[in-house]
Symmetry: C2
Subunit: 218 residues, 2 copies
Amino acid sequence: MNTGVSKPDTKQRILDSAERLFAEYGFAGVSLRAIIADAKVNLAAIHYHYHSKEALFDAVILRRLEPINRERLELLDALEQAGQPTLEQILEAFLAPAFRVGADPNGGQTFVRLIGRLFSEEMSLFSHVIKQHFGVVLERFARALQAAAPELPTSEVLWRMLFMAGALGHALRSCGQNLESLHGGLCDTSDVEGALRRLIGFAAAGFRAPVPAGVTHV
Amino acid sequence: MNTGVSKPDTKQRILDSAERLFAEYGFAGVSLRAIIADAKVNLAAIHYHYHSKEALFDAVILRRLEPINRERLELLDALEQAGQPTLEQILEAFLAPAFRVGADPNGGQTFVRLIGRLFSEEMSLFSHVIKQHFGVVLERFARALQAAAPELPTSEVLWRMLFMAGALGHALRSCGQNLESLHGGLCDTSDVEGALRRLIGFAAAGFRAPVPAGVTHV
DNA sequence: GTCTATAATCGGATAGAC
DNA sequence: GTCTATCCGATTATAGAC
């Protein structure tokens, strides 16, 4: 007999549907019933496999975020072992894993938008697990960026990381989205690799900008 | 007798509470009942003064967005009449009005976060009115930025505007927010003026970055 | 592990008295 | 303009049969 995975994977289908719908409408904008309808499973199954709506959301995020953040740290480790990396290299190590999932034909495209959405969701929503995941990565990259731009005060590095993260999130949210209404279709948001290269260049230049006059540091 | 405004302004209190709650939890994350509880008004009043939940959301946004976008265009007009403005000047004309409402003690702080949230809400949510508001402004500033950076392909200008808008939104979302959990408190997000100066410098440098090799243009 | 059935609550919206 | 009362559909979650 099979080891229990003979069924066309209810659990996985729930995760896939939830990912797509959460990405589109946000956490509060999606009901469990919308998910079960999309996944063609029973309502009770969602409570059986995951504990609650919030736990399901966590599972959706972690499935993809964990590999992304692991890859980010691996790339950064590899860079630093080869000497002092450039700003562009560090930024690529941070940005590329997030962008590249967009190339994954298996729902990566939709997850890319979900990550973008994550930043605007209620803080208390993404659980301690996720917050912790992000914390470690941000700390490591903050140190790396600081080393690559030693003339910048630490608070300045953090501000620019915040700008970069915002640009990343917004770019990811826009990927595959219909932006014609705003841009007249001149922005090809399906060009994921191009968006990555552009964002790296944009952010690297931003990090190299001089410290504005008159701002205060902590 | 009074002209009808003798009451401590039910209509206004609804708007204020709605603004604060929408900013915190997003459109779908807030119920009308939560709003009336916060505003201490009756449920029916919300349907009387505004037609529906969506119409209320529109009203909340427009109350502050309309002046912001008007000021943006006025500032840009003034700049262009004095000759070819610099990148920094154009960016300031776009960013400053949005940031400055954060200095308004009357709920501006919370609205700043609401604007940031707007980008991640469902597209169909912000009504045609708002979409049109944004469309005009973006078109004008796209032209101005293109003129200030004539060596950039148009699609490149639009990509960088998208990055800038993302950084703006994220910065606004973070203003006054408790970011210690992620940054160890080194980022003083209550320093609105400093955030503005920093973002202008960051984005201007980004706009001056060379076009990445190998990307395609439409 | 999957289902039906249902509990218990909350959602937006409206009617009609005052 | 403001209130009470209520409609009615949708929501999360659970109990219990199979």
